[in-house]
């Protein structure tokens, strides 16, 4: 058979299979991410059916997938929101980083891995999945809840922190050394700040450049600009993901709204390819040995995420049930963790990292949404109410103020 025909057959069968998987998963309220990862594990090296002809296509598609994931993430926020949020939510962001990045780093060192791997694992355990969490909050009808702004601002800080973290990891993994690392970080900081300033001051002008009236031109110009900036950012060692994220932030208003609508199907397509690609590059035979450590890490970091949400919501003056809801909602990890792990895999650091990250994301992304549902059960509410009553009876009687 001709090479292109094989490619078409492979890609077609793969996408169709993913579609069926996603449909089956939705029936159980599962996010499609773990299913795509499993599908990736099943194919490729050491898997059931090796995909050979489409390897190159999938590799490029996966890169576009990362870029689209990040530009869409950027489109969700306006620059004002990011900067405004930074001041009020910075303490929560710092707690989040300390409680969740450190366990990952320590865990990697405990496994006897080097500092590079520790840095990568810290990132994997640090960031929650804004996509999964926003969807879960919407599905559970919690967008109006008092703790929801707290959860969202932790996510915003995480996403913004990634704009600084990713270039550092990219530089460290590329072995540029201390001086090179610092200059990369400098470039990254300057770029991020410059984009934020330009987006706040001239976001309207940039957006006016692209007309909403012509959907085709808008699609091409937004996609083109994103890929171009992502490429330039990668060339500067700032990581293409950050470049794409910044383009998303710079666009605002109706242009951002329409671009979101138009890019969504493309993102769905290529993000699926990305998750499959990540699964593909992991040998399923490597997963069982790391399953137990992954489970331990997942339990540990889920607990620290609950603590993060609890503390952040307490700062915002939310009562105990709301604090627990915030904590439990923050537990799933997802696309960002896979993006970070993907970087590490591409640069060939610690071979056991990829299977560990796969298992870790599989565990958290499946159990996270289930944990988020926990506070809605009657027995859980009863338990919390009893606990609050116990607290109240031990506490000093508070004088009522009129």
């Amino acid at each position: 058979m001709h090479h292109t025909t094989v490619l078409l057959i492979e890609i077609g069968a793969l996408l169709f299979g993913l579609g069926m998987l996603g449909r089956a998963g939705r029936r159980f309220g599962l996010s499609p991410i773990p299913l795509y990862l499993l599908a990736g594990l099943a194919f490729g090296q050491g898997g059931l059916v090796p995909l050979s002809a489409s390897k190159e296509f999938i590799a490029i598609g996966a890169q576009i997938g990362v870029i689209l994931l990040l530009v869409m993430l950027g489109l969700e926020y306006s620059a004002d929101e990011l900067v405004g949020n930074l001041r009020s939510a910075a303490p929560a962001g710092v707690i989040d980083m300390l409680l969740n990045a450190l366990p990952g780093a320590l865990f990697a060192l405990l496994l006897g891995w080097d500092l590079k791997a520790a840095l990568v694992l810290a990132g994997i355990t640090w960031v929650s999945s804004s996509g999964v969490i926003a969807k879960v909050l919407g599905d559970l009808g919690r967008l109006g809840n008092r703790e929801t702004p707290v959860i969202l601002s932790v996510l915003v800080i995480e996403d913004l922190a990634m704009a600084l973290y990713l270039p550092i990891v990219t530089a460290v993994l590329a072995n540029v050394g201390l001086v090179g690392g610092f200059s990369t970080l400098g470039v990254a900081v300057v770029t991020v700040v410059a984009v934020l300033v330009v987006a706040i001051r001239y976001g309207g002008t940039i957006s006016r450049l692209m007309s909403v009236k012509d959907p085709e031109a808008l699609l091409l110009s937004v996609l083109g600009l994103t890929l171009f900036v992502a490429g330039v950012a990668a060339e500067l060692q700032v990581s293409e993901a950050v470049g794409a994220f910044l383009v998303g932030i710079a666009l605002s208003g109706p242009v951002a709204h329409h671009a979101t609508q138009m890019l969504s199907p493309l993102r769905d397509l290529f993000a699926a390819v990305f998750f499959v690609f990540f699964g593909l590059s992991t040998d399923p035979a490597d997963v069982p040995p790391v399953l137990l450590p992954a489970l331990g890490l997942a339990v540990l970091t889920m607990l620290t995420k609950v603590a993060t949400g609890y503390l952040a919501a307490r700062r915002a003056g939310t009562a105990l049930p709301g604090r627990l809801r915030a904590g439990l909602a923050l537990t799933p990890r997802g696309e960002f963790s896979v993006v970070i792990a993907g970087l590490a895999v591409a640069s060939g650091v610690q071979p056991r990292l990829a299977p560990l990250a796969t298992a870790y994301v599989l565990i958290t992304v499946v159990s996270g949404p289930m944990l988020a549902r926990l506070p809605d059960y009657a027995w859980f509410k009863k338990l919390v109410r009893r606990r609050m009553a116990a607290q109240r009876s031990t506490a000093e009687p508070v004088p009522t103020v009129e």
Partner: protein
Amino acid sequence: MRVRVEQTPLPGIGVRHDLVTSSGRTVGVVSHRNGRRDLVLYDVDDPDACLASIPLTDGEAEALADVLGASLMLGQLAGLRQQAAGLLTEQIALPAGSPFVGRRLGDTRARTRTRASIVAVLRDREVIASPGPAFLFEANDVVVAVGTREGLDGVTAILAGDTDG
């Protein structure tokens, strides 16, 4: 008293407006950036959590706003938007136990006693403008009256049967 509406930004989603009613319940609206909006009602036991989140289409939201803001609309219809200082328009619901259910408007002697005028009656989403003294009240009628603050309070008291007439 003016009601205080609190606005909370929801990064990446939109904005939430909420207000606490005088009965102590919290009601809010979550406006999504993509134009979707949800009406949210909060739990009495756990005021941090919303009990129900009801998505409203543009048309539904508009209809609800019309119903809730009917007094404003009526003010415009009557062309009486507080042209004169101290003159107010108010909607007064006829209480279920009002002595005037089934009786004539003239029996209230509202204008003579309070110097406030009943300019319209709302019944089943219909406006009955300038009802005469022979107009018969029914349960669930809403009376639109124009007058001074004291006058309107007087009409409210009369319709409630609080004054001996």
